[in-house]
């Protein structure tokens, strides 16, 4: 069974540009989560999808971040325009139900210069 996959693994962009991160969850997992880890800090929750609906987006930093999950399959996280403080590792995770173990992808390392 394929795990959670994220694309790209690394991205370096200039301040003001747009970047789109993609996450393919484990097939059949209705719950999809985005987290990020800024350098030196803990992993922080961004948002939670149940199928295509946003269950909780309380962790999204501001309106420069837009997450979508069309059709309840893969998800994208767009940052537009990117700022320096957006640099970090963005993780996606998926689970069958909210209270079962969440499987994490390898993360996308975003560097804004």
């Amino acid at each position: 069974e394929a795990g959670v996959t994220q694309f790209p693994s690394h991205s370096v962009i200039e301040k003001g540009q747009t970047v789109t991160l993609r996450c393919d969850p484990i097939s059949g997992h209705d719950n999809l989560y985005w987290y990020r880890r800024v350098m030196g800090k803990e992993i922080k929750f961004l948002l939670h999808f149940v199928k295509e609906s946003k269950q909780d987006e309380s962790g999204m930093p501001n309106n420069r971040f837009l997450a979508e999950r069309t059709g309840g399959t893969y998800s994208t996280l767009k940052v537009q325009p990117a700022e320096l403080e957006d640099s970090g590792v963005y993780f996606c995770a998926s689970s069958h139900t909210p209270w079962t173990e969440a499987f994490f992808g390898q993360g996308t390392r975003l560097t804004v210069v």
Binding site: N31, Y33, E42, G59, A93, A102, G107
Partner: protein, 111 residues
């Protein structure tokens, strides 16, 4: 909200010894607790979880202990091996299904 603190950012042990990694949380309403292992260049990997109606759970070479009275969580690794070297995170969940992570403990196993 929830906050998760860590007792030690690094831990160094000898191969074969037992390791204990600790975590403290703040919200007494939290009811789901997980330990993750993260190796360099990889995402967090699930190790073991425990719900608030339990105080101990065992897996293969790992044991999680939960003390709700003092809001403390620990991960015990028996007979630590070099392959156990990684960063270990505790994460705490409540009714809103989102996890709050600690900063992580870097475990180094010396041969």
């Amino acid at each position: 909200g929830e906050s998760v603190g860590l007792h030690l950012p690094t831990l160094s042990v000898q191969e074969g010894d037992n390791s204990i990694i600790n975590c403290a949380y703040s919200n007494s309403a939290s009811d789901y607790f997980i330990w993750y292992k993260q190796e360099s260049g990889k995402g967090p990997q699930f190790i073991i979880d425990i719900r608030s109606n339990m105080d101990k759970r065992q897996g293969q070479r790992v044991t999680v202990l939960l003390n709700k009275t003092v809001k403390h969580l620990s991960l015990q690794i028996a007979a630590t091996q070099p392959g156990d070297s990684a960063v270990y995170f505790c994460a705490v969940g409540g009714s809103n299904y989102k996890l709050t992570f600690g900063k992580g403990t870097l475990l180094t196993v010396n041969p």
